[in-house]
Amino acid sequence: MKRRRFLFPLAAILLLGLGAYFMGRGDEPEKRPEAQQVHFPTHLRSEEYQRLAKRRTLRPEIAKALAQAAQPDAEPPPRRDPMLAALPPAAPGKTAVVFEANALRNSPIGELMLDCMRKQHGQNPFDEFQKDTHVDPLVDIDRVAVTSDGMMVSGNFTNANWDFLFNHKVSPTSYGQSGQIYVSPSEDSEVGAVGIWNNEMFLTGKDVASVQAAIDRLEGRTPPGPQLISEEDTYGEVYGVISPSDLGAMFGSDNKELAAKLSEVASEVKLHVDAQSDVAMVADLSGPDAEKVSDLGKSLGGVLSLARLKAQAEGDQDLAQLLDLAEVDPDDGRFRAKLALPMSLLEQKLAWCREKSDAGAP
């Protein structure tokens, strides 16, 4: 009886000790995986406001402004961002997407991609280009814009050598105040002309007229009209406007119906990609018929859902995880589609890019 009297307290102490041991094993914070959280770009953030203000360097109407200054009531025209000013004016069916090349290069995804390129090429992948042009893309290029009419690259091209263009066969002609234009000797060339403006912008076009038009916009010879990309839409590391037909073409043959519906229903698609940590993409789609836009949003949501279910059924956990973060937010006459690529997943998938450097790290 006396032994039984102490049996339970001893058992209790032993059990409490065992309980403490097991519960303590679950205490370690690294054992609890965090839920994936991605921040989608939806508006200008303070650093992007600052970036925007710094880029307002262009005042092509300066002569006009000086003339107006003689009149006491006249206000000088506001400064503008040269890249935005050079873009074609807003019109239906126009596409322009700006890549913040320098910010992307310094982002986690940019660093990873560079590691992959270095791993593949065994050296700096831009060495050849740098030798030809005296432009270091990793340092000298600020932004790259791809438009329906061609391409624009902004940056510091003071030391650039453009003679390599068109196999050294063409000499530039001056245009406007600070422009130089190289015209392709071949009529079949996709790039009909290349323009260099003020050693800070490189422009390509299908023909000479399109390059001249861009330089005219930069130098204020064209009255400023509605901009294809407004300043308020310059957030993220990639931003712009994509025409519905161009976007539909990206869907591939599997989603022809959806692409056709997109072209029919949407009037404008605005794109924003944030790459500061994870890669998060937001596409804002609007159209004149609110009901049709709403139906399109539902169809797109269904496509994403089916793709996710298919990925789950086929055991493609990576794709299923990506599509977990995909969603469509409907709003009156518009909707917002979100898609994300978590950096952790990219690093895991592209771990081979860093194997050598990791091994060599101290």
């Binding site: 039984r4 339970f8 059990l15 409490l16 403490a20 205490d27 995986p33």
Partner: protein, 284 residues
């Protein structure tokens, strides 16, 4: 005539406790509230599902403006919220509603009658504990199961995860009730029993964050005491988070979960051992 099977009376005591609970207004009201909430959800929630994606959600005819996403992804926050509500709400309700089971079991007249029956003392205690565990699991699974059924019918998406989360909530409450039962054997008072439950519930939340909290104590005796005391307590908040993660299909560290559950079982067994020891010593 065959000898009675040891421990068989445990289930008889548990069944008696369930009958007693069913006759109490508190439990009937709680069951009624859960039923009403489920009925309202069933009648007024409309889910517009297209190709497995939730295209629109209407509650009482009003569009809730939800995103168009895979239906199971959209429902995750709801299942997560339900798991937390069942875990914390159910535990808080259980602490209050079950506080006087043990004191009434030990009340003069009733305990003498029970001890005169062919029931061992430990069977009485364990039976009471099992009965409360059954109530907790039934309540949690009724709420979660009803919601799974309604949302499954409406959306075509079926999952047993909220039920697993609810069961986890029930198990966590059972460990708390073990301490309440033990307290009743030292002080026969429903208020003390509820206070013990409330204290353990709160301390269990603190214990879940002991790794983050302990650096705030000066190294030495204070930190040592904090770590020693919290090491034995059930990790209430960690279990609640895990239950919510299970319900919402988030990643769960299975090893850590099993450790927490095994630790919880050992804790409940330890506290029940003290209760049995006390009960065996007591004269009625």
């Amino acid at each position: 005539m065959s000898a009675p099977i040891a421990g068989r009376a445990v289930f008889g005591v548990a069944a008696d406790l369930l009958r007693e609970a069913a006759s109490r207004k508190w439990f009937l009201a709680f069951g009624g509230v859960i039923t009403l909430a489920l009925a309202a959800t069933g009648m007024f929630l409309r889910l517009d599902v297209v190709d497995g994606a939730l295209a629109a959600t209407r509650f009482f005819g009003k569009d809730l403006g939800t995103s168009i996403m895979s239906v199971d992804v959209v429902l995750r926050p709801l299942y997560r919220a339900v798991a937390y509500a069942i875990f914390y709400g159910g535990s808080a309700f259980g602490i209050l509603a079950c506080a006087d089971f043990a004191p009434s079991l030990l009340s003069p007249g009733r305990i003498e009658h029970l001890l005169s029956l062919p029931v061992r003392r430990w069977e009485l205690l364990v039976g009471t504990f099992v009965g409360v565990l059954a109530i907790a699991l039934l309540g949690a699974c009724y709420g979660a199961g009803g919601l799974v059924l309604i949302l499954g019918i409406k959306s075509g998406f079926w999952t047993a995860r909220p039920l697993m989360a609810a069961a986890l909530g029930g198990a966590a409450f059972a460990a708390i009730y073990a301490a309440m039962l033990t307290m009743a054997l030292f002080v026969r008072s429903a208020a003390f029993s509820a206070a013990a439950g409330g204290l353990l519930f709160t301390a269990g939340i603190v214990a879940s964050y002991r790794e983050k909290i302990s650096p705030m104590f000066e190294p030495g005796v204070g930190r040592g005491i904090f770590r020693a005391v919290t090491s034995v307590l059930p990790r209430v908040a960690a279990l609640a988070d895990t239950a919510a993660a299970i319900a919402a299909r988030d990643a769960v560290d299975r090893g850590a979960l099993w450790s927490l559950l095994v630790g919880l079982v050992f804790f409940a067994a330890a506290v029940l051992a003290i209760a049995i020891w006390r009960f065996e010593q007591k004269d009625f």
